[in-house]
């Protein structure tokens, strides 16, 4: 029951509610715990409530760090790991 998923806000509704989309499914959830969320933002949804907003820049940086791990310094000739392009 700890599982929670990032979902995109597609519509703001009355009373701190909003509609999110995840994997093609739309669902109404509460925004009462986060301030200033807007349509297009990604939020982490847990038991019907958004817990926090996702920071897209931080997500990209973490992925870039992870992709860098795939480069073996002993063999690398420099340049980007091919998987990084796919992930972006």
């Amino acid at each position: 029951m700890c599982l929670a998923i990032p979902a995109r806000i597609v519509e703001l509704l009355a009373g701190d509610q909003c509609r999110v989309e995840l994997g093609g499914v739309r669902k109404e959830i509460s925004l009462a715990l986060v301030d200033g969320a807007a349509v297009g933002d990604y939020v982490i949804v847990h038991v019907g409530y958004a817990l926090t907003r996702l920071d897209p820049e931080e997500a990209a940086q973490t992925l870039a760090l992870i992709a860098d791990a795939g480069i073996d310094p002993a063999r690398a000739l420099g340049g980007e790991h091919p998987a990084l392009g796919a992930a972006r």
Partner: protein, 393 residues
């Protein structure tokens, strides 16, 4: 799905696995505990353990809210629901199957006539009370810091609306005291010494409490903590960060989940929780025993919505099933396969202990995704007994 699929990418995982293999010190062993059930689930489901170097071992921690809920608290809810026909007892799905006393669970109590219902969110429980004004709707609230703010919100709303037929049995528990208890309590050391080099800090709990609460802990016990997201790449990257800390002799709080966690957490949610809920002096945890200042109760201002006060409910502690090793498993000193009941008497369909109930429990995660790793391969035609769990093709 964005922010999910990228963090499950197989090619990136292979790269991370290679990096880890390159970076670990072959001359030492590493043992890390993932505190949170969400991480246990991710590690089992995506086979993260198989991608780790052999000298890096992951130990499941107690961060599954269903697993740490003591039998006595479930008994309290079952007793109330059976004794008072006007009560509609509602809770999250996982809670309903937790084995309690007398072979009962909330679900089995329902079969005996109690009105027990599953809700997806605390808001659903409140809405039910509005729809059923002639009934008493009692929400059995469980969980760590992630599910606590929704409970606080509905309590505040019930008070604002003067909704007299809604109340909550508050079982919310706190993460930092549980981590401390694993290293600190005399009870833990009785169960055998647990060697730990560091912790993977919870993902979503930390979105709310931030990374700051772990700082004193890391400094005091000289154990590194790396907060990680729930996807397999997050977990692997966090393990890499832990290995680096161990190798360089650091014990700091680091954050791999920067896309969702900041140092101070979510102040809006924290304010709502502290307005409605306060620390309990002590609370019994399944597997960890009674821990001081480790759980929350409803503030006196909200007493009319506190089911424990409203119905005069008393907590009576109940010992676990004799053979169940959940206690030792939750502390990380035993593995699910060390339990005699694992996979035979105790399965997700017929759980004997709470670790088998939720998919985030160590026993259920191992049963669903990992158990065949430990089962010796039988050659067809030998006299070895067939594995009863294996489906015939």
């Amino acid at each position: 799905m964005k922010y999910v699929d990228e963090f499950r990418d197989g090619a990136l995982a292979t790269g991370l696995a290679r990096a880890l293999a390159r970076e670990v010190d072959p001359g030492r062993d590493y043992a890390f505990m993932e505190f949170c059930g969400g991480h246990t689930h991710a590690i089992s489901r995506y086979g993260v353990a198989d991608l780790l170097p052999p000298n890096v071992r992951m130990i499941h921690g107690p961060g599954c809210p269903v697993c740490v809920l003591p039998i006595g608290r479930v008994d309290m809810a079952i007793g109330l629901a059976l004794a008072r026909p006007e009560v509609i007892l509602c809770s999250y799905g996982d809670c309903l199957r937790v084995p309690a006393s007398d072979g009962l669970s909330l679900l089995k109590a329902k079969a005996r006539g109690a009105d027990v219902r599953m809700v997806y969110s605390a808001a659903d429980a409140l809405a039910l009370a509005v729809r059923e004004p002639a009934r008493e709707v009692v929400f059995f609230a469980i969980g760590f810091e992630t599910t606590t703010p929704p409970t606080a919100l509905v309590l505040r709303e019930a008070a604002t609306r003067r909704l007299a037929n809604f109340s909550v049995i508050c079982n919310h528990v706190l993460t930092p005291p549980a981590i401390t208890a694993i290293l600190d309590s005399p009870a833990a050391s009785r169960l055998g010494a647990l060697h730990l080099d560091g912790f993977i800090g919870p993902a979503h709990v930390s979105t709310l409490i931030g990374s700051r609460p772990y700082e004193a802990f890391a400094a005091r016990y000289r154990k590194p903590v790396v907060i990680a997201g729930f996807e397999p790449l997050d977990v692997m990257q966090a393990i890499r960060m832990l290995v680096r800390q161990v190798d360089t002799g650091r014990a700091e709080v680091e954050n791999e989940f920067t896309r969702a966690v900041v140092r101070d957490g979510n102040p809006k949610a924290q304010a709502i929780v502290s307005e409605v809920l306060a620390l309990r002096d002590e609370f019994e945890w399944r597997g960890l025993g009674v821990l001081a200042r480790s759980a929350l109760r409803i503030r006196p201002a909200f007493a009319p919505w506190d089911a424990e006060a409203k119905f005069g409910l008393d907590y009576r502690p109940v010992p676990d099933h004799r053979a169940c090793e959940c206690g030792a498993i939750l502390r990380g000193v035993k593995k699910p396969t060390d339990c005699k009941l694992f996979g035979t008497v105790c399965t997700p369909e017929t759980p004997m202990g709470s670790c088998m109930v939720s998919s985030e429990g160590a026993c259920a995660a191992h049963y669903n995704y990992g158990r065949f790793r430990d089962v010796p391969v039988h050659v067809v035609g030998t006299s070895a007994p067939p594995n009863p769990d294996q489906e015939t093709a």
